[in-house]
Symmetry: C2
Subunit: 306 residues, 2 copies
């Protein structure tokens, strides 16, 4: 195989009570990438469509991730990368992560799959760090593993694959405003009340149990965030209205995707997820803010070969 | 049925990363209780053996729990309670909780089992509050449900039954010193670093996953407590030596049972658990402190009819 085309999906990190550790993978929206083996050694980015991003390898998330796997594998060839970017950078649904994960997945395929998913994640994290300033796997993991993932630890990297309820759908809204990652980070307190922390870990434990037992009711009951949402929701206009509309229309839960501004809802069926999408659209249609919405099955497989 | 004899086991609460929410049930050590229906209405405690505890119903943990179920059920009879107390009060392995849980379990049996386990837990919590000052279910739940339990919330009470790995054994040591519950409570900070809280909930999520996947290695890796242990371990002499000995001898994890002074270890086999017990005994044998140790299978069934 000398060439591969892949779909690298959007992902949701910081899933409610799972701040910094829990993520899941989407299906409807994602980047496409074409990676070609070349006789000439090294990594080249030959094309980026969709958004204006640097072609220079060391300044590009996908480039840096590609270099990480390339320098480890030391193959007798090089690679050319074409990026057809569909996920808007800064949307909060893992745009940079999709580029980083996709390229390492593709190169691994072209090399004959010498690396494990965890190893691929460590390479992708090098790329992710270009965008976010630190290596973390909360969007990388759901992209590479698919479904729901729990990042048990970053150093050493330990990723757990959680079960994905088959009838679970996500509804996303991306209000086209800028939430600076640095602001989203700085707004969080350095220390938190013990009582709230207990509520949070009790909910996360319950959520993991709910995924294992396919218990949608408990899943909804556990999708609470008493730590981060009270702060970050202030950065997203009409957040509370969106959440209220989602829950009133049958969503199991609703929260901030990544560090925002996207908002995710989870629903038990496609029908409910679509109803939720419509209700959320109505909220934002009344504002001046541009937005788009989409509904997606939870993608249990992660990155796909096209 | 006019009379019932039951075994109400010791329990471990605050299991490492599951502070305030996670508990498990022991098998080897527990109270025995005999409950008899009487024609005369009301609750009477007729006998307490083992430890010096109040016979007066309203001052006794079992008495208050019995009154709670009795006043709700309003039966055409009364009940007499005999308590053969084996779990030393203040040991940190759910002594008061065993009395409270046992009596409501027994009365429910004598009434023909009208109540769910969750309802029984709410009655037992009224008794537990006599000893601890507040209603909480972290020792009650594992006694009544058996195995590992997660208290998702106290109000409303929501208890989750987690799977119990079949080959899991606990080793307990009870150093016979007094740790005042109030001191164990006051020593804890009111707020905690965000970073540590994230570590704690990541570990709890992992632990729940480990129980569901029967993954002993991950279980061991998740049995960490970065929040409470650093404070409360100071109240237990030789805590660090005990922990080191347990881990060096193959224990998956080691932590403070309840608010101490008992220390629990978890091991994958009876053989390892016994080896851990011996190693821990050696540590405490060199001190002036009286202690006892025991090893127990995790009791998946909870309270038993004898």
């Amino acid at each position: 195989m000398n060439e591969i085309k892949i779909f690298s999906p959007a992902t949701v990190a910081n899933v409610s009570c799972g701040f910094d550790v829990l993520g899941f993978c989407l299906d409807t929206v994602g980047d496409e990438m074409v990676i070609k083996k070349t006789q000439e050694k090294g990594i080249k980015i030959t094309k980026i469509e969709g958004f204006n991003l640097p072609l220079e390898v060391k300044k590009n998330v996908a480039g840096v991730a590609a270099l990480a796997i390339y320098n480890d594998a030391k193959p007798e060839c090089g690679f050319e990368i074409e990026i057809y970017k569909k996920i808007k950078p800064g949307s909060g649904i893992g745009s940079s992560s999709a580029s980083a994960s996709g390229v390492v997945f593709a190169i691994n395929e072209l090399l004959g799959k010498p690396y494990s998913k965890t190893q691929l994640s460590t390479f992708a994290m090098k790329g992710e760090a270009v965008a976010s300033g630190s290596e973390h796997a909360d969007n990388i993991a759901p992209g590479i593993f698919g479904g729901f993932t729990l990042v048990k630890s970053n150093h050493p990297l330990k990723i757990l694959e959680l079960p994905t309820p088959t009838n679970l759908y996500a509804t996303l809204i991306h209000p086209q405003i800028e939430v600076k990652t640095s602001e989203a980070r700085d707004i969080l307190p350095k220390s938190i009340p013990m009582e709230n922390a207990i509520t949070q870990w009790s909910n996360l434990g319950s959520l993991v149990h709910a995924l294992h037992t396919n218990d949608y009711h408990l899943l909804g009951d556990s999708l609470q965030d008493v730590i981060v949402e009270p702060y970050r929701s202030k950065l997203i206009p009409h957040y509370n209205d969106v959440k209220e509309a989602a829950l009133n229309n049958g969503a199991l839960g609703c929260g901030i995707s990544g560090s925002g501004p996207s908002i995710f809802s989870l629903s038990e069926s496609l029908e409910t997820a679509k109803k939720v999408e419509k209700a959320i659209q109505e909220i934002y249609s009344k504002t001046e803010i541009e937005f788009y919405t989409f509904t997606s099955k939870i993608n249990a497989d992660g990155i796909k070969i096209l």
